[in-house]
Every structure is written in C-alpha cells, then in structure tokens.
Amino acid sequence: MKNKIALYKIFSCCCILAFSGEVVAQTADSIRLLKPAAEKYIGFAKQKTNIVTGSITTITGTDTRKAFTNNITNTLYGRLPGLTMLQGGNEPGANNATPFIRGANTFGFNGAPLVIIDGFLGDYSQLVPEEIEEISVLKDASATAVYGMRGANGVLLITTKRGKVQPLAVNFNAQYGIQGASALPKFLNSFDYARLYNEALTNDEKPAFYTQANLDAYQNGSDPVFHPNVNWYDEVLRKTAPLANYNLNFSGGNNTVKFFAMLNALSSEGLYKKFGDDFDESSNATYNRYNFRANVEVALTKRLSSQINIGGSVDDKKNPGDLSTGGNFSLLDVLAPNAFPVFNPNRSFGGNQTYSGNPLANLTSTGFSTSNATSLQSSLRLTEQLDMITKGLSTSVAVSFNSFYQAASNKRKTYERFSISKNLLGDTVYSRPFGAKTSLSPTEVVLSQFRNYAVQASLDYDRVKGVHGLSGLLLFNTDNNIIDKQVPNTDPANQALPYKSNGVSTRLTYTNKEKYIAEFSGSYMGTENFNAGNRYGFFPAASLGWVVSKENFLNNSKLIDFLKLRVSYGIVGNENIGGQRFAFAQRYPFIASYNFGTGNNTVGALGEGRRLNPDVTWEKEKKANIGLEVNMVKRIAIVLDVFKNERYDILSSSNSTIPLFLGFNGLPDLNVGKTSTKGFELSIRYSNDEKKPLQFFAEAFSAYAKNNIDFNNEPQQPNTNLYRTGYAIGQPFGLQALGLFQTTAEIAASAVPLGIAIKPGDIKYRDFGGPNGVPDGIIDGNDATAIGKTSIPEWTFGLNTGMSYKGFDVNLIFQGVAGVSQYLGGSRFYAFQNNGQVTEAALDRWTPTNTGAKYPKLSIEGNQNNYRFSSFWQRDASFIKLRVAEVGYTFSNKLLKSIRLSQARFFVNGTNLFTLDRVEEGDVDALYGYPQIRTVSIGLKVQLK
C-alpha cells in the first residue's frame, strides 16, 4: 500500500519530543549491548559462543515481544538472518506464519524446519514471548546433524526461561492496543459499478442493463432501497478492535531451588462488529489465550539435580457465524454494492438468488462458533554429576510429554432473505424467501490433536585440561508422536498410527587454547516409516574453527577484537517426505464393491493399492557452510555465512515417466529428486560506547537463498519452456502477457486461444509453441513458461535500530523482502467474474479511448482469455515494512524506590505501521481474506525486587 506518511510523521515527532524531555540514565531493555552472550544453545547442549563452529543465529524472548501480536510466529519477521517467515493469515487464532530456513529446501512434502522446545519436539505457536529465553536458528550441518534425519530443513531451537540465583523478582507487564485493518480492498460504488457493468455489456454486444434513471439514482443516492449503495466491508467490519496482553512472572532462586513462573493472559477481538452485543444468537469475534509456565530446578543432592518444566495454554476463540472467516470474505469480495440493501424496508434481510447470502446476516443470524485449544508441554530431567568416575562427566535422563488438542463447538442456524421489487402500482413486492429460517443446532468437532512422548538419556563430558578442552555428548532419544492428520494416500487404518523414531546423537568437540576448534557431530537414527532394512541412517558432520584473533599477530590489534573463521560440512536428512505411509508395503485396500446375480448381491472388492516402493527413504542434504565472525573497534560485529546445500533423494512422482498401461493403481513415488540451494547471510551490528548517555545501536542483515531444481523426474515436454528443472522450487508457470490487443488487425496477426472471440482490449499472450515445439498460432497450455518469482522471497532484509537517552528509548524494526512474486487471482481482482465486484483498478480499463490502460476491457462473461494464469496478474511482491516502532520511558530509581519498584517502563508501540511496496491492488501480505492488522498500543512494565 501507499505509505502512511502521516502516521510516520507523528512517530517522528514523538521521537523528537522524547529526546527533548528531562531524563535519567537507565539501561532499557530495548538497547542491546554489543557483547555477545557468553554461551549459545546448540543441539542438546550449550556451548561457549567463542568456540561455536556451527551457523546459528539467536534472538531473545524479550526481543520477540517488540511486535505486538496475538501470535508469536508473527513476531519473527525480519529478525533472524536465514529465517524467512511467510505470513499465513491475519484472523486471530488462525494466523500462524510459516517458517523457512534458508529458503524452500525441497519440492518434496515438507520444507518446514524442525521445532525443538527445551530439547523435545513441540509446537511453538502456543508460546508467548515472556516465557522464552531464546530462539535460535540452526542452519548448517554442524548445528543440525545431531537431529539426524529431521535436521535437513534447519532447526528452530526454543529455550524457555529458567530461574537464576537471585532474589525474587516479580515482573508485571501490561500492554493494551487497538488493531485496525492496514488496508481494505477498494471496490467501486454502485454508480461506478452500474456504469461499468453497462460498458461490459456493450463490450459483450448486449443491451445495457441499467437505465439512465438507474444510474442517476445510484449517483444521487435518492433511493437506498431499490438503488442501494452498500459498502459491505463497512457494514461488517469495525475500524478498530482492542488487543491486550497481561503478564505476571516470578523468578528467583538459591543454590537448592531455582524457579521461573509465569502467567499470561492475552485478549484480542476480531475486526467484526460486536454482533454478539446486538443479536442474542450471535457472538462477538474474540480470541483469548491464557498461558502458564513453571520451570523449577531442584538440587536433590550435591550431585543430582532435577528440572521440571511445565508450560501450557488454553485458547478460546469465538466467531459469529462460522469458525473460520474465509467464507465471509469470499462473499464480500464478490457482492456488488447495489445487489440489495442490507435490510429491506420491513427490516427483513435483503438478498437475492445470485449471491449465497447477506454478509451481515451471515454474521448476525447464522449462530456462532467457538473453539477451544489446550496445549501442554512438560518435561522432567534428572542430571547426575559423575565426577567420581572422571571429572567433567555427567549423565541425565529426561522424559517429556506434550499434548495439543483443539475442538470446536458450532451452534448454527440459517436465515431468510428476501429480494424486493416494485410492481406497476409502485408497491414494494417481496419475493418468496431465499434460505429458510431455522433455530440453532449444535455440532461438536475435534479440529486437531497432537501428542508425543519422548525419552532421552545422555552422557555429557566437558573438561578443560591445560590448553586442551574436550567436550562430548552421547544421547539416546526415542519418541512417539501421535498426530491426527490426514496423510495423503493413506487409508484411515494407518492414519492414527503414531510416528516413532529412535536415535543416538553424538558430538565431540576438541579445542586447543580456544584457538583451534575441531568438532564432529552426528546421529544414527531410524524411523518406522521405512522398510526394516532401510530404517536407520547415519548423519555425520564435521566442522573446524580458528579464532584468528587469538593468534599473536592480532593479539594487540586495535582494529580487530575478535575474529573467527569456521567451516562445516555434513549430511543431514529429512524424514518428513510425505507420500504414502509405509510405502514399502504393498497394500490391497477395499475399493468399494460390485454386484453379482439377479438379486444384485454386493461383493466387497479388494484391489491392489498404490504400487509399493520397497526402497523408499528419507531426503538427504549435503550442507557446506563457511562462516566469519568479526568484532571490530569494540563497536561493530559482523557475521557472514556462505552456504551451499545439495538436497537429494527427494520423493518425486513417477507418474510422468511410467506408462499407465502397466495398470498400477497409483505409481510409487521414487527418491530421485534433487535440488540445490546457495546463498549467504550477512549481519552487521553497531552500538556506540555504552558509557555515553546517548546510546545508539543498529543491527542490519541481509540474507539470500536461491534454490534450483536439479532433477525432478518430469516427463518429456512438448516445449522446452515447460520444463521445471532448472527453476526455483515453486516457480510459477503461466502465459507471458504481452499487453493488450489494440486493433482487430493485431488480433488477426497474433496467436489467440481456440474457440474464444478475442477483441481489442483483451490480453495478448506470447506464443511459445504448439505440441511439437513450433509456434502454432494457438495460445494454450503449451505456451506456459516460467513467469516471475516464487512466493518465498530470495532476499530478506532486517534492520533493527534504536537509541536511548537517559530514560527515553526508541526502537524501530524494519523488514524487507525482494525476489518474490504474488498473484492476483479470483473475484476480488477480476471485474464482474462470478457475478463479482469491481475494484478501483478497473477504472483504468481498456476502452477505445483509453488504449494505454493497465486493466483489460470489461466483460461480464466468464472470460477465458483474460483471466488465465499469466504474468499480467502477477506482481513483484518485494516490500519494506516497518514492523515495529516503539518509544519508551524508564522511570528513575529514586522515584521508584519511593513506591518500592525496582524498574518501571512506559512505552508506546506500533506494529505493522506502514509498507512500501509495488502492489497497488492491496496489502502485499494479505491479498485475500482477512485484512492485515496494524496495531498501536501502550504498555507498562514494572519490576519488584
């Protein structure tokens, strides 16, 4: 959307005001110090940051709080180099963003990274920022090899907060904001709709539908009943809706017990009007979530300690009408402003046969739906120091139980709507009702469930003896995941079977004076989804590190404070390959029945199922990574990673090469696909002298990942432009638009689709070739070619900058993406299609007098030429967004002490404030459905000690 300059100016003013006030020095939590954390979380352990040889980037939980949203996945945009988050939806409770680490990784079933919470598989979307200590992204083989056949897509490692040895600290945060749609589609009003409709009819060589009297009535609004002009978005959406979050947490501890406990309540309202207040049998759109966590460590004896982590959440979602809002928005996208009035003169709902409903009635008079989800993450770990055997040795055993369950309760009914007309006497005549009036009827459904059990046992060794440091890990992990999800091509009998895996992971790190580092890590792991002989695989990785700054020649350098070179190489797998469950076994499923005899006796039929593939196996990826970490002049930190990944054994369809006359009921997928990804991540951090009263920091990164399909077993194509090989994973293929036809002579001289009458103003496409690769003068599927970029950006950028002066602080976080395309499809963009609406874009339509138009000529008929998948409707979806702007003030100690607080900070926060992009037709992240949300909030954070 066009940038919201006004809002931006206001914020600038706030910043200036903030710095002009009287302030007291105070370190605010928005200012990050240059010093990196002394230790980093790595797979199943922690390691000194200086000696880490894997490619790992980290964000703290506190940092994720900056973006104020009801879902933690939406806080990670532009925060971690190498992690690309794709916005999912915007509806509260259905807005998980999809993570990709270093791009799409695979054209196979799943390129999503593994998520590990406190050492175990989990779902992080239920967590809240306040309970998170760190989120780490593990990217290269060295970092992910311990996760064996699950690590190839990268790992999101999430660690929750723990108590420290400190006096009890009580923190209370409250944040309250208002959310609004950052952009709504711009549909034309009734007058323009009718005017353009007539024009479209004329184009179709049909008589006009609206008379001049109709058009006048629409224009002057004199007859809102028979000539309505309804902005349906305004009828059902409100401008703002509240969002609030309250968090209370305690942490503290001594040598025996350390604890962190938290309660969090989040309350969010949807953008629908408060229908529940006005209609007994509807409800307001709300989404509330309650989280708790208690992480307790107890030293049971001198050597034996235990750690219990319990976290959980309950969420409650309520919507008027249906639980999900997709249907509402697809109706809003087509419903013409003059279709019918919201209410008829007798207060019945307006409606007609063309449209499936009345949007207002859909929300007020079809009942309501609620869903409830509970999640639980729990683990118990016992650790025993085995110093008596050898110094530095310890062992630990852990069990974990996680569960997620979501069920919905729908109370639905239907309503009547009437279309009205005038008879000759001028009386209003009501049609017989569309739809029937019913009373509420309930249904209960389980939406999803997931639970897993896991057991881990490990031996850890960590010792420094003289110049030699040696640490080692040997870990046994077994887990059992019951996932109730529809696995493609699997019969129900196999769906409920748990997914299981066993594995042994190991890591051995040798350091010499913390200058030279050599590490070997790996995993031997198996899963039940593969044949007994092919069940286990070994996934090794090796890495080397050289802390150059420890060498004598850099020892006293004023320029270089720290310089580390690291390189890693290894093979990691991905077992989440999709395809058929237990594809190694030939199945003979029931395939319905046939009837024999004059009495038609039914005999159940058994048929050979999809052909088995006894050798089905996991995907593998060779990962190579070179990294450089430099800290310079005590102010600047640079991290550069360059990587190359080669994925192979991707499960690929063989339909394209095995002829059907073999008679297999489904051909086996084969592990033959290959892709490769190259790229880099560069991040630079600057912060000024921490002793100065004016603190400033800026952290910028740019990440690039470009993938390529090297082999995908595709069939021979009639035209070379149809081959997917050599293009990125998910590359769109469509017709290449060459603009609009201007004259009939031009049409006669050009390639056109068969059987469609093309007129000036229709889209012209490039004719690549016919079935034999020779241009054939016909536009059809053979003329498709690679157009634009994929929906996963090649480039991601982040800029996190801020400053503080005495008590004031300000923080801005920008996210940018480039090398990405979006497609404008469906009724929202295609004028009059499926009885649809018209947007402002159609004002610049082609007419004989507006030949330079951006929009094709109008037609009310299903136009099979103009709305084909083509570059005409594809947009460069690069953008820069101001994801976060926050201004805060931290109160002075003196003042606080008088009211027994150790810290208090007040802040104003804006989330998703503006976007700069090239898509005029809508918000680049929310081209369909529920609008993108912008939030402005105020918050208070206090700490008692």
Binding site: Y594, G607, L660, N665, P715, L754
Partner: protein, 610 residues
C-alpha cells in the same frame, strides 16, 4: 537419608534407560493394521471372489456416465484425476443423436473439433486408466488362479475365463478408440518390461479374438442366477463378434488409412494394410455363433406379440417390447451387462439425474442438469409405422406435428420424450414448445430423452440397467456383416426383420440391393440401439462422420409452437426446423489421440494428425 534417595533415584534412572533400550529392537516395527496382501487374496475362494469383484468393477462400463463416487471408485489415487467425469462418458452429444448443451459437458469440444491429446481423457476416455487396471487384475488372476487351495477345477477354469474375457473387453474398448495398442498379457513387474510399443491392428484383433476363444474354452455355457452379470460363453462370443465386426469395417479393413502416419509399417497401427472382404465373413460367422448359443440357452429378443405396438396404459405410459428391453434389468435379451449399480438409485443420484431434465426446464422433471436433447436429425430417421419414410417439410414446417409423431415407428414413443409425451410418473404431459421452459433454447432438438428413464423413478428408486451385449445388436451386426460379404441374403433379412417385428414394424421390402440394404440396416441400428453408446463408434467405423448432419455440418432442432390453448394440454402444434448448431469434424478424429502425457513417456506412437 540423602544417600537412600540417591540410590533410589539412581535405580529409577537406570531402569528407565534399560526399559527404553529393551524396547528399541521392536519399537520401530510397523504395527499390525488391516492390510491385505496378494497371498491372502489367493488363499481361499471366498477371498478370491472379492478380487473378482474388483475385476468387474474395473473392467465393465455402462452406456451412460458412471460417476466414480457412485460407482465405487473411491480408492483411485488423486494423481489420476482424469476420472472425475460427471457427465463425460456419454457420447450422445458427440453424435447426431443429441445435443448436450450443459456448460461443463464434453460434447461441445467434439462438436467444435477442439478435442486434443491434452484433453482426450476428460473428453471421452476417462476409463483409459481403468482398463489397464482391469488388465493387470486379469493378468494376476490368470497367474495365480491355479494356486487357490480350496477351489475346484471348474472354479479355477471359470475365473481364468472371466479374466480373459475382461482383458479382451478392455482391449477391445482401447482398440475401437485408438486402433493398435500395446498388448499387455502378463503382469509387468520391472520398468524394463514396460517398454511395450503399440501392436498392429491385425495383431491386436488377433490378440482379442484369441483371448475370447480361450475364454470360450474355459467359461461355463451360462451363469446361474447367483452369478448373473459374470461372463459366460455367450459374452465371450458376443465380444468376439463385435471385435470382428469392427475389424471388418471400412475404418480398419483397408489398405490406406484415413490419414497416413507416413509409412506403410506405421499405418498398420491404424488399419490392416489391406482390404479383405473375407473379414465380413468372419464377422458374420462370429455373430451367427452368438445367435446359435443364445437360441440354445434361452437368450432371445423380448417379443410378446401383444406388446409389439405399445400399449398406452393409464396416464399414458408407453409400454412395449422395446421399452421392456431397455428398462428391465437382466432381461432375456441381455447377454452381458454392467452391474456396478446394483442397488436401486433414486432420482437424485446417478445415472438418473443425468437423463432427467432439471425442473427449470420441465416442471417436476427432477433432474440436476440439462440432459442431452435428441436432435431432429435423429428423429427424422424414424420410419412410419407402415415402413415408409416419414416426410417432414424442412423449409416451411407444418401444423401437424402430433399427427406426424403418431405415425412413427413404435420405438419413437419408447425412446423420445416429445411434446405432450409422458416423461415419467410425475410428468404426464411434457411441455416442449415455445413459451415454456423447454423452448428451443433449452431443448435444442425439440425433444428430451425418454430411453433409460424408468417410469416409476420419481417415487421409487430403480436399478439402472447397463447393457454391454444384447441380442438385438448381434442380430443387426449379423445382418450387416452378411450383407457386406454376400449381399442381402435371406438370413440377413430374417435377422433385421426379427428386430423390426418385435416392435411392430413391417419386414424390409424384398429385393433390396446391397447398398439399399446397407442403408436400411444401418438405419435400423441407429433406431434400435439409440443412446446406447453405439452411434459414435458406428459413425467412425463406417467412415460417415463427414457427411452433412452426422458429425459435421448442420444440426437441426424443432421450433414448436402451440396452436391452441386447450386444457389440460394443447392439442395442436406447428413445427419448423432450424439449425441450432453447425458442427466441425476433422479427419484425424476417426481415431482418438492418445493422451499427451502417455505419448511423452516415449512408448506410444501418436495417431496421425494429433
């Protein structure tokens, strides 16, 4: 105390580790499911019977659309999405029999010659894939049948015969669409085995005939009533006869194909490469064998003399022998039929919703879509009941429409739902004329279909009768083949006349020339086998598609106007013919194109012109 705790905890810790290790060995084994494997299928006759059901499910078909969900094909993988056909497989609208104007119908692509290798599967041949599945099932049965422990020899012979029959039937269905095809006569295991090229027409016909002959040697003479619907000798004989009839027809029985693939060798994929009149002899003999078998085993035309001319029952049900022949399942002239639809189906389900006009067009019609509308081109083929040609004024029309209808062959009122005719129990007077919802824009030909629609369908679910081989077809094939081989012999006359007689039509006039007899027997076939998915294939094998009004040129409909306002229904109508559509046919359409995806896999040579 502390020590004790430590010991206890250590024991717990160790036992957890031990416990986990012990379970490791079998932890990852696939849990027992409900899976069935091939050995189980052939472990007992009762299990094999379920596999036989599969054979028939894949291998048989109806003359009207089978929707996969209704027909039970829910197990097909989505990757073969082609078989999604709703109304697709009905060929009525492709030919001059009817006009299928429903927007998503396949017929318009044929009428506009817009069928291509990219869309052929969804435009007619959704069963392309199913036939290969059927052949694989058949090959597996042939391979394993002898090993069923508890089955007796007769059973083993029978199921092998059935497998051969279904294999031959599937191959014939491929042959009639594509010409030469890859012959798959064993289970294919390796990819190398799958490199099979198309065989010549001669080899394919020979392979089908051989399978039929082998099946005849193994199958029972007839099936008991428990097994009705399963192949017997008669079915295999009928398939052989039909195969040889097609093989003898001009499309295949020629030295020069309709279009050349460029060399004589490749052209043998399209035709025999020589014209041999003796092929008609083989066809006639094969048809005679069916008739001999049927005479000996009680399969015969339904011919109750009293019902030859239809009885107009209460409310106007037109009941005659002909109606019985298509309405009553498993009747005496049914040699072999498809029994996918075993259970009675109500008017809202397939196939009925396809044939019934939707209520927008005919009040209480009960259908879901616009069914095919028979054309005036087709209706003009009906003779008068005295055997003479009906005269229609194509230029000026006339005011005597109902009188013209009244004069027609009794099969007209048992095939066509015309103005004022009874559609079914809920529509006793079908209003088809201008000013009603069945005007010339809806019922383009001026008619709706009556054939296939059971009269009681509005109230009572009905079993859909799905003939594959019937005696009447064999009689007409016999007459056709005899005439082509040796002119209109008395046997040829007798065969056609038997079909005419049972519907009250007079015998063909004696003394017809070979050409005249050919015209009459073809006309008889069009009328008798109307809407049974014969016409498209007959047009192609006779090579008459280019003739005006067949698959090319003007398609005529009737514009019908009522001449009075009599209640409950007008009693006089005028008619005027008009061209509702001009169709295009290209020579390459004499054979289907192979699906583009299959051609690209490298083994199939595409038919010419595609």
């Amino acid at each position: 105390m502390k020590k004790k705790l430590q010991i206890i905890l250590s024991i717990c810790l160790c036992s957890i580790v031990f416990f986990s290790c012990k379970k490791v060995a079998d932890f990852l084994d696939k849990p027992p499911g409900i899976d069935v494997d091939e050995n189980l299928i052939f472990s007992a006759q009762v299990q094999t019977e379920r596999y036989m059901a599969t054979l028939y499910q894949y291998g048989t078909f109806a003359p009207y659309p089978l929707r996969p969900a209704d027909a039970g094909f829910s197990g097909l993988p989505a990757s073969f999405g082609a078989f999604n056909g709703n109304m697709n497989s009905a060929t009525i609208g492709i030919t001059d029999e009817g006009e299928q104007s429903e927007s998503f119908s396949i017929a318009q692509d044929w009428n506009n010659a817009a069928v291509t290798p990219l869309n052929i599967v969804s435009r007619e041949d959704e069963r392309y894939f199913l036939r290969w599945l059927a052949i694989r099932v058949a090959n597996i049965i042939l391979e394993r049948a002898d090993g069923i422990p508890d089955a007796n020899n007769d059973y083993k012979k029978m199921i092998k015969g059935e497998a051969l029959f279904i294999r031959a039937l599937s191959n014939f269905e491929t042959f009639k669409r594509y010409g030469g095809f890859p012959i798959v006569n064993k289970r294919i295991i390796t990819i190398e085995d799958s490199k099979i090229a198309r065989s010549s027409v001669a080899d394919c016909v020979a392979a089908i005939v051989k399978d039929c002959d082998d099946a005849i040697a193994l199958l029972p003479v007839v099936q008991t009533s428990n097994f009705t619907g399963r192949a017997h000798i008669g079915a295999a004989l009928a398939l052989k006869a039909r195969t040889l009839l097609y093989a003898a027809s001009p499309l295949f029985n020629t030295a020069t194909p309709y279009l050349s693939l460029g060399n004589a060798e490749d052209d043998k994929l399209l035709c025999f490469g020589n014209a041999d009149n003796n092929r008609w002899k083989l066809a006639a003999d094969a048809a005679k064998a069916v008739l001999d078998w049927s005479a000996a085993n009680g399969f015969a035309l339904i011919d109750v003399p009293a019902n030859r001319i239809p009885v107009f029952g209460l409310g106007g049900i037109v009941n005659g022998n002909y109606r019985t022949s298509w309405q009553q399942p498993d009747n005496q002239e049914m040699i072999f039929s498809c029994k996918l639809y075993g259970a009675p189906k109500s008017n809202g389900s397939f196939p009925w919703q396809f044939f019934l006009p939707r209520s927008n067009y005919v009040p209480n019609g009960l259908g879901f879509w616009t069914p095919p509308s028979p054309t005036f081109n087709f209706v003009r083929k009906y003779e008068r009941r005295d055997g003479t040609t009906q005269t229609w004024d194509l230029v000026n029309g006339g005011n005597d429409l109902l009188a013209k209808y009244d004069q027609l062959d009794a099969r007209f009122s048992q095939t066509i739902c015309y103005t004022g005719a009874r559609l079914h129990a809920n529509v006793t007077r079908t209003p088809i004329y201008q000013g009603t919802t069945s005007d010339k824009t809806a019922a383009k030909g001026g008619f709706w279909m009556l054939k296939w629609i059971p009269d009681a369908i509005p109230t009572l679910p009905q079993i859909a009768n799905a003939p594959i081989f019937r005696v009447n077809e064999v009689l007409l094939s016999y007459a056709e083949a005899l005439n082509e081989f040796s002119g209109p012999t008395p046997e040829a006359y007798a065969a056609v006349n038997a079909v005419r007689t049972r519907s009250g039509m007079p015998n063909l006039p004696p003394g017809l020339s070979k050409d005249q007899f050919r015209t009459r027997v073809r006309n008889e076939r069009d009328i008798e086998m109307a809407f049974e998915n014969y016409r498209l294939w007959d047009i192609r094998r006779w090579m008459i598609a280019e003739q005006d009004g067949v698959m090319q040129g003007n398609m005529l409909g009737l514009e019908i106007t009522r001449l009075n306002n009599t209640l409950p229904f007008p009693t006089a109508f005028s008619y005027k013919s008009f061209v509702f559509e001009t169709r295009t046919f290209q020579k390459r359409m004499y054979l289907h194109p192979f699906d583009n995806n299959e051609v690209l896999k490298g083994n199939l040579k595409q038919n010419p012109g595609w």
